[in-house]
Each structure stands twice: as structure tokens, then as C-alpha cells.
Symmetry: C2
Subunit: 351 residues, 2 copies
């Protein structure tokens, strides 16, 4: 279906599978999510999300999207309070969502179990519908991503985002938003089809030792996940920031040649990120941009264009894909194994 020239790695195949995963997910889970949201609507004042790793980055998307479209505050769980400290939170007026590809991590499962003990509504978002997480929750939403064999999560991350977009839109009973979601698979096809040439310059970063990854608002999640892919796959130290937090101190690190990746799909934060790009250029930093905005692209040493016409609220599902591909190509350039990065495992059980 799409023709980007990737080598025969599992990671590359799984990046490719994303549009089809989304089509299947929308087909199979829409009516389930509609039912779940009807059952919980109006029964909570805030959402607690428990997740780790890439799933925690999906939770960050939820933090912004549930805020923007539903005006619902989101707290990210502190699982150690439930496990190591054995002092579970009082969850009155909460909805609790657990997100985990494997559904195995004991600390995430324990947060959901405790919410259920307190008779609060719970949702599990997982790729494994017979996992401990799925069994612990009132409601289960499946990722339908098929087996994810590469250690670095790609399709399960974006599928988690898509589910959050569906939950938020159905909570709003906004069919227009639900319809907009179906644009996502084709936009990712566009990235996978057209942009191979943009990655030949990834060689430039063969000896990069560290970088900052900056976004703002809706794409705060994308900064975290891009950074995590780079760290997991290439062992380069990549640190994620909101542009506001970056200005409150860490910008001091930016000196001649310091690489800053700015992720800026069109949206209300474009102006803020454009100013930040200007600051990076003034400090002689190395600017890398993933964007559809001409004024940002022209400032960059390397620009990966994003497709036009993505509503800002859905852009995190699309704007992570160049980061996945960038990290993948960087493993090849550095002679590393993209499928089995050294030193980490697919399922990490934390307490």
C-alpha cells in the first residue's frame, strides 16, 4: 500500500502497519466505545490515568485532549503510592483509565484494582484482552494492533492515542469529531508513501550524542514519545520539553551545534514554537523541524514535512510517525539492531 523504502526489519513493518491497525480499530471498537462513554458520562469530575513508558506518553495526549474538548482535568497516576507505599488515593469523583500494551505491569494493574474497590468507573486500554489489566477493569478497549514484536512500541502507541480521541469525542457526543478521526489513516499513508527522500540526511546525525525534543500543548506527548524512541533505539540522550518549560532554564544548554528537534504541526502553538526556533537559530543551535509550516521549515537544518490538513487535536497521532522513522533510520546509520535494542525488554514489570 505504501512505498517508503524500508529494510526488512520488524520495526519498519510495524511502523507500516499503523494505517491498517487504525482502520481495523475504528471498525471494531467504535460501538464499544460509544457504549462505554454512555455508561460513564456525568459520573466523574476528573480522570486519573495510570501508564508507563510509551503508554504514559499516550496519557499526556489524554491530558490535553480531555482538557481541550471535554474540559476535564486529568491527573497522571503515581503508581508507587498504590504499590510500594500502599497508600492508595481516595478516588471519589474520578474515572480511572489504565493504558498498557501488554496489560502486565503490576503497578498499573493495582491502580485499576484499587479504583474498582472504591466502586469508581475503570477502563483498560490494552492490546491483550485477557491480560491482568483487562480482567481488573469494568470496561476494556482493545488496541487491535496484532502482535507487536519489535521492542520499541510504535503501532500500539498510536492506537492508544486513537482510542483516546474516540473516547473524548464520544464523551462529547460529537459525531463530527468522530468522523474527523477517519482522516488519520490516510494522512499516515501520505507520510509513509512520499517522504523517503527526507530521511537520507539522517546520516548527518551519525555522531549526535544528545538532543532536546520540544513541542507544546497537544503535541507535548509527541515530544515525549519521539524522545523515548530515540533513546530506546539509538542510546542517544534525547530530552523532551514543552517550549514553556524549556525557556524556564534548560535553554541554557543550547550552544553552537546543540541539536533541538521541534515538532510543530499547524495549530494554536505555532507562533510560540516559531519564536523558539528563532531562539535556537540565534544561539547557533542545530534546528531539526517536523512541521507543515513554511516559516519553521525554512529555518531548519533538517526539516521533515508533515502532511497538510490535519486538525490540531488529531495531529499527535500523525506527527509521531516522522519521529518513529527518524529513530529507525538512525539505528541503521549507527549500525544498531532496530528490533532488539540492547538493554531493554518488551515487557517491563514494575511495582
Amino acid at each position: 500500500m505504501n512505498s517508503i523504502k524500508m529494510y526488512n526489519h520488524i520495526l519498519a513493518q510495524e511502523i507500516h502497519q499503523q494505517p491498517d491497525v487504525f482502520r481495523k480499530l475504528i471498525e471494531k471498537e467504535t460501538s464499544n466505545i460509544s457504549k462505554i462513554t454512555s455508561a460513564i458520562r456525568g459520573k466523574f469530575d476528573y480522570i486519573l490515568i495510570a501508564a508507563r513508558g510509551s503508554s504514559d506518553n499516550a496519557a499526556r495526549y489524554g491530558q490535553y485532549l480531555f482538557g481541550l474538548h471535554n474540559r476535564i482535568p486529568v491527573a497522571l497516576a503515581t503508581p508507587s503510592l498504590f504499590t510500594i507505599y500502599e497508600k492508595p488515593l481516595n478516588l471519589d469523583r474520578s474515572l480511572t483509565i489504565g493504558i498498557s500494551q501488554s496489560g502486565q505491569s503490576p503497578d498499573i494493574v493495582e491502580v485499576i484494582r484499587e479504583a474498582r474497590r472504591q466502586h469508581r468507573p475503570t477502563i483498560a486500554v490494552t492490546n491483550q484482552t485477557n491480560s491482568p489489566l483487562a480482567k481488573a477493569a469494568d470496561h476494556v478497549i482493545a488496541l487491535h494492533a496484532g502482535d507487536e514484536l519489535a521492542v520499541a512500541a510504535t503501532k500500539t502507541y498510536t492506537a492508544s492515542l486513537l482510542i483516546i480521541a474516540l473516547i473524548s469525542s464520544f464523551l462529547q457526543e460529537n459525531e463530527n469529531l468522530v468522523r474527523q478521526i477517519s482522516i488519520v489513516p490516510e494522512k499516515i499513508d501520505e507520510i509513509l508513501n512520499g517522504f523517503h527522500n527526507n530521511y537520507t540526511h539522517v546520516e548527518r546525525y551519525r555522531y549526535m550524542q544528545h538532543c532536546a525534543v520540544v513541542a507544546r500543548g497537544m503535541n507535548y506527548s509527541t515530544a515525549f514519545e519521539t524522545s523515548l524512541k530515540i533513546k530506546e533505539l539509538t542510546h542517544i540522550i534525547a530530552e523532551p520539553y514543552s517550549s514553556a518549560d524549556f525557556r524556564h532554564g534548560p535553554i541554557a544548554m543550547v550552544r553552537s551545534g546543540f541539536p533541538v528537534i521541534v515538532i510543530a504541526p499547524k495549530g494554536q502553538v505555532t507562533c510560540d514554537l516559531s519564536e523558539l526556533c528563532q531562539q535556537v537559530v540565534e544561539r547557533n543551535g542545530e534546528l531539526i523541524v517536523f512541521s507543515d509550516q513554511h516559516q519553521l521549515i525554512k529555518m531548519a537544518h533538517l526539516a521533515i514535512p508533515l502532511p497538510d490538513g490535519i486538525p490540531e487535536w488529531l495531529s499527535p497521532i500523525v506527527a509521531i510517525v516522522p519521529g518513529q522513522i527518524f529513530a529507525y533510520y538512525l539505528t541503521l546509520v549507527k549500525n544498531l539492531d532496530p528490533d532488539q535494542p540492547q538493554g531493554i525488554h518488551k515487557i517491563t514489570e514494575t511495582y
Copy 2:
């Protein structure tokens, strides 16, 4: 009062002032905080904290302490929703706390104003009691830190933590906890008095380019703040993690010589952090430990001992001090100016 041999920099003086700031703060604000907590007790189900930079790290302490002692969930605010996106959250059942040394940052002020528009209780924690933040809130708690002239925050960070400890203890109406807080100034005196020799080995890190800073639970905040001090003052890329998140991917970065700072005052997470230290050693990483625990200290290449006898819930106020001093000495070793780090300003106004 204390005799650590620091040079005549403002930063060193402000690090020194911390015990006296705390004594003054406890004397001046205890009855105010007691009154505020009486006025708000039982009127909210969760807390929203709005803050940036070091104050946001103080908010992370609040997230764990309000959870551990009060069982209250804490959400960290997403200020851009209130400002750039102009879609303020529905704050039903919330208490909103804004933390800012200067009280100037427009995005933090806007979160407090919006909470007040929604007739929700609001508290400003600030060093400037005539600032926009103080004027916006129902209740004001002053840091009593005196002017903070060094660009990197030290005494205003720890004073913010102390205020959070007081709010939490008074909310619980637990006088025993309130009394325990008075141990903090003398424990910091112990650090400032006794441990000069531990820092001579900071020279070892003259050419360190990056590091990870790891803690868990209560001291998650300390990992973030230690990392921020190192970044602001020395331009070294220092990235903070909980030990659980670190195992979910970033541990892949740890190879021969990779520096990992582990902050581990005695507590319920000691065992978890001890295992992590073991993993770093097995990967031939460079282990730096700030701890009072013998089994961790003996594994480390550099160990900065913490004083005994600090209750875990108060340990973040004490355990940050070695990080402040470590970052300060590192500026000297690297011939940098600790008072005016390049590229950042004391007050950062973000929208």
C-alpha cells in the same frame, strides 16, 4: 553558623541561607496556613497545581505528599489550555494552588484567575506577596526567602516544599507531623557543616557531557530539581527519571561510563533503588549516589552522604541540598559563573 567552605558567590550564600529561611517561614506562616486549611478542608476532591521550572518540581513533591498523607489526587496543570488554547478546564471539586517565586508568569496567574472565576478555592505560594499571582488568589502563603538574586532557584524551591509539607500536615490536623517539620533546618545545617570533603571529587565530572538522575516516589521531585540545577548551571544534559520509568526504555542508554545519579534517602523505595544501582553497576555505568544507605554508598564511584534520621516524607527538602552543592561546585570546576548562567533569566514570562 555553618562552615562549609564556599566561595563568595551569591548562589553559595543563598544555599547557606536555607536553614534560616525555614526557621523564619515556620515562625511567620504556621498560623496563616492553619487558618487557610481550616477554610478549605473538605471542600475539594482533588488538587490542581500550576507552576513552571523549579516550582513545577515542588508541585511534584505535592503530588506525592498529598497522596501519601492526605490520599488526595493531584493533577499538574496544563497552563496552555487556559492561555494559548483559551479552553479553561472545568474545575468542579478542585482546590487550585499556584506556585511561583516571582508571582509573575502570566500563564500561572491565568490558571488561578480562572479557578477563582469558577468560585473554586485558590492558594498562591510566592516570594512576592504583592505580585499578580498573590493578588489573583483567595489565600496567599509567603516563602519569606528574602530576595533571591542568583538565577538558579535554591532557597525558594526548598521553601516551597516546606510550605507544601505544612499545608499537607495541617489539612490532616496532625500536630505530630507539624512538629516533625522543625527537624528540617538542623538537618540541612548538618549537610552544610560537615560534608565539604565530599565535594573535592566533583572534579571527576569536569568533562561529563550528560547524565541521568534517578529517584522514586517522594523524591521524584528531587530527581527533577537536581537535574534542572545541573542543566541550568553547567549546561550538562541531565535527565530526570523515576526508577520505574527508567527501566521502561531509557536504561538502554546506560553503557560503560554512562553517569547515573541516584538519590536515595532511607525509605520505602530503598530496595527498588538498590536494585537499580546494581543494574547500573552491571552495565559498567558510573554510579553517583546521594544517600544515607550503606549498601548503596558502597556501590558508588562518588557518594554524598545524607544525614540520618530524616522521615521519608520530609527527605526531599533535605536531599536536594547535595544536588545544589554538586551543581555549584561543578560550575567552579568548569570555570562557569554560578550566579549568572549563560542564556537564562531569573523571571521567565510564558503564556
